[in-house]
Amino acid sequence: MSITEILFWVLSTAAIVAALLVIFSKNPVHSVLWLIVVFFAISGHYVLLNAQFLAIVNMIVYAGAIMVLFLFVIMLMNMNADQEPTKSKWMKIAGVISGGSLTLLLIAALKYNTATTGGEEAGIGLIQQLGKTLFNEYVVPFEISSVLFLSAMVGAVVLGKKEKNIVNSDIANQ
């Protein structure tokens, strides 16, 4: 067993276990922390697949920015385990069964592959290579995505601000 394979198994186990813990933790804060573990494990996979740039971006954007945002929101709401009323048993069982059967089905459907991910390669996952592709062929989508970010930002501000106005007017009415 090569070092790559060992790393693969370790990272895969970590990802699945952490993912399970995400959904079964009572405390939302723990869920967030386990999700960060999942993301780190996935970043590790990216490195194994020679996608170094994506590994770094994944860590910075997801594990860094997005998950911190989640954590921040949860803490802002001051949530803890008791607050969440559990779903009905029937719904839980149905969810687990359907999720499990989906897994089985997809595995059964996709198991007849023989290709591998190994072998020589030209380093397309390196930042230089990706940068060239991105700014040569995909420069328009790249620019459009910046507009998307801008609109998302404005949207978030508007959503937050509107609420404030309503609260203010409520107070004024009282």
Partner: protein, 111 residues
């Protein structure tokens, strides 16, 4: 590494995300499960990118086949970041209004 391993791993992560969406009632947890599913797909895309690139490289050692998939993943991350921003803003607003993030209260669609 056989591509099947990556497929199975991605399917497992994706299904775990689905089970989370189905069994939890906390909107933030559901949101996180969606992120989990997105990441499972990202992982699979990168794995396929590597697979195709390796196959093409055996024939031509200057090929760039497979970089599109990685650009794709990059854009998914972009979209996910924007989505999280807006989604969390909605959840915060919701929490301010009804002091809960329980999706069972969010059945206004019925009316």
């Amino acid at each position: 590494m056989p591509i099947n391993y990556y497929i199975f791993l991605s399917v497992c992560l994706f299904s775990i995300g689905i089970v989370g969406v189905l069994t939890r009632r906390n909107a933030i947890i559901i949101f996180m499960c969606i992120e989990l599913m997105l990441n499972a797909v990202n992982l699979l895309l990168v794995a396929f990118s590597r697979m195709h690139h390796a196959a093409a490289y055996a024939l031509d050692n200057s090929t760039l086949v497979g970089s599109e998939a990685q650009i794709f993943v990059f854009f998914i991350m972009v979209v996910a970041a924007a989505e999280v921003t807006v989604g969390l803003a909605i959840i915060v607003m919701l929490y301010r209004n009804i002091h809960s993030v329980d999706i069972n209260f969010l059945n206004r669609l019925k009316h």
